[in-house]
């Protein structure tokens, strides 16, 4: 049995209510942090924990917090990234629905640590029922005095607000998220300066994913070393894996970092639908390179997945059976990136549209022999040539799908029909 941190309350009735959360020990860690610990001590534990950002990039959380400059005279902000729009990703939604108070407790501790008195949760607009639930939880926390003035009688003050997005994947990119809260189009900023120094309203800002922040109360409770001990080197803690696609039991499963991918698919998710054979897996959300079935004998932690030529990303595992047409599957992803490109950088804006035209042409039976090479060439032209990583995110699936299933693409372009359907 794996250790449960984030899902430990999921089975409890009314787990989203503050009384239930408190009955199970909730808000004790925030109280301990504010009353008994100095911000530097908390930061030290988070550094020791080897917690790495769960939003996709896997950046060490403690290190990120330590970049916030001290005594600039400006306010410091915490922005929690609840945009969750990477195809295949739905893990944060489960936290918002079933344990919003664990997130709020994490926000209190994090804000105190980085010296913020104001925090935002940026939630994707489509998560409307979830935003309502979260707002109710925030109001409960205010009523108990865990938010607002003089929290736990310590004199510490924190305000927490929800900011709703409105259907733009790019606003999950941290600087686009800041632009969006500032009431602008979500166009990513050039870095540097990094948000830790110049973030929301030009003030020092920390941006973290929902799951990252929800881990914080447990790190305060059990210590950084304990958390680090749960995973392999440099990969602390547990992770929420969101499994979807051709499996019998799609869902969110929590396991220690380094959990085997095939075990996740065959045991947790109940194996492949209709007893079919596994064909391919996208192991970390739509933006990461695809793996062929024979490459899937790997462990799920940032470094192991990287070694296998892909990325753990958001931990969204998209499973495809032998019946999947890879050309059509890729067309869905290209459609997505074309739709979601903010239009700021030419390679991404023009490249995604061009790729979509080509792949739609292939699917319509009007492909040309050279189309596959052109797709590949365009993707290479986008890769690394944009302000933000959305360009890479659009290019990597194309490059990896073609590298691994080139025969299927060429077959479709030449024979005007799918090789598998």
């Amino acid at each position: 049995m794996s250790v449960k941190i984030l899902t430990k309350h999921f089975g409890i009735k009314d787990s989203h209510k503050i009384n239930v959360y408190m009955k199970n020990g909730g808000y004790k860690q925030a109280e301990k942090a504010l009353k008994e610990m100095k911000p530097e001590e908390i930061l030290e534990e988070v550094k020791k924990s080897n917690l790495r950002g769960r939003g996709g990039a896997g950046f060490p959380t403690g290190l990120k917090w330590s970049f916030v400059p001290k005594d600039t005279g400006k306010p410091v902000y915490l922005c929690v990234n609840s945009d969750e729009s990477e195809p295949g990703t739905f893990k944060d939604r489960h936290i918002l629905e079933k344990d919003p108070h664990m997130l709020i407790e994490g926000i209190i501790i994090t804000s105190y640590t980085i010296g913020a008195n104001e925090a935002y949760i940026y939630i994707r607009g489509e998560y409307y029922p979830q935003a309502i639930r979260l707002q109710e939880a925030i109001e409960e926390a205010y009523q108990k005095g865990f938010l607002g003035e003089n929290i736990f009688g310590t004199g510490y003050k924190l305000d927490l607000k929800i900011y709703r997005g409105a259907g733009a994947y790019i606003c999950g990119e941290e600087t686009a998220l800041l632009e969006s809260i500032e009431g602008k189009k979500g166009k990513p900023r050039l870095k540097p300066p990094f948000p830790a120094a110049v973030g929301l309203y030009d003030c020092p800002t920390v941006i973290n994913n929902v799951e990252t922040i929800a881990d914080i109360p447990t790190i305060v409770e059990k210590g950084g070393e304990w958390f680090a001990s749960l995973g392999p080197e440099r990969n602390g803690g547990t992770k929420l894996f969101a499994v979807s696609g051709h499996v019998n039991k799609p869902g969110v499963y929590e396991h220690e970092m380094g959990y085997p991918l095939m075990k996740l698919i065959n045991e947790d998710a109940g194996g492949i639908l209709d007893g079919l054979k596994l064909k391919a897996v996208i192991p970390g959300g739509s933006s990461v390179p695809i793996l062929r079935a024979e490459e899937c004998d790997i462990n799920l932690d940032y470094d192991s997945v990287m070694k296998a030529g892909s990325m753990l990303g958001s931990g969204a595992v998209i499973v495809m059976s032998e019946k999947t047409c890879m050309v059509k599957a890729l067309s869905r992803l290209i459609h997505f990136y074309k739709d979601e490109s903010c239009g700021q950088c030419t390679p991404c804006r023009e490249g995604t549209g061009w790729m979509l035209k080509i792949i739609n042409r292939i699917i319509a039976g009007k492909g040309r022999k050279e189309d596959v090479d052109t797709l590949y060439y365009i993707a290479k032209g986008i890769m690394g040539h944009t302000v933000c990583p959305l360009g890479d995110a659009a290019a990597m699936p194309v490059i990896s799908f073609i590298n691994k299933f080139r025969d299927e693409f060429e077959y479709y372009a030449i024979n005007k029909k799918s090789m598998v359907e």
């Binding site: 739905f90 029922p129 997005g165 189009k185 979807s244 997505f336 903010c342």
Partner: protein, 157 residues
């Protein structure tokens, strides 16, 4: 031409201004509030928001058209948004959307002649554990089958 602002909306506008006092931050919450009340973002709404925030109407238009959730035209009473992204496609999007199209007699991007339903294809809704999914006016419906679609759409008045 100016628009009629209800008591409820006026209250919401005040709340938003107090909650997000900095710069242009009220724009997105205001767009949501106006759309919730009026169904879509008309030119008049853009002007109204521009006045409230102190920016030009074209600025509000740039923002509202950047975000796909803001409708720049009226939509039906029920806005059916079917996810067409990878996981929902793996789990049967093509058949599901064809079925809805036939049932309602409209294509994607169209509204039924009685103004009741608008059909859209959207990108991943974050509900992949229940693929195929759709969202209707904020509510999610997952694990869709033809029978389930009948049940849901027939129950909407």
């Amino acid at each position: 031409m100016s628009i009629e602002i209800s008591e409820n909306l006026r209250k919401k506008i005040e709340e938003i201004k107090n909650k997000f006092p900095t710069g242009k931050s009220p724009i997105l919450p205001l767009l949501h509030a106006f759309q919730d009340e009026l169904g879509y973002i008309s030119l008049e709404v853009e002007e109204e928001i521009a006045n409230i925030v102190g920016v030009s109407p074209v600025y509000v238009r740039e923002v509202s058209t950047f975000y796909s959730m803001f409708n720049n035209q009226p939509v039906g009473k029920y806005h059916i948004q079917v996810c067409g992204n990878i996981t929902c496609w793996l789990r049967g999007y093509d058949e599901i959307v064809e079925y809805i199209k036939k049932k309602l007699g409209i294509d994607i991007g169209e509204t039924t002649s009685d103004g009741k339903f608008t059909l859209s294809r959207v990108e991943c809704l974050g509900m992949c554990d229940h693929a195929p999914v759709m969202q209707i006016n904020g509510d999610f419906y997952g694990d869709l089958t033809f029978e389930k679609i009948d049940e849901i759409l027939d129950s909407l008045e």
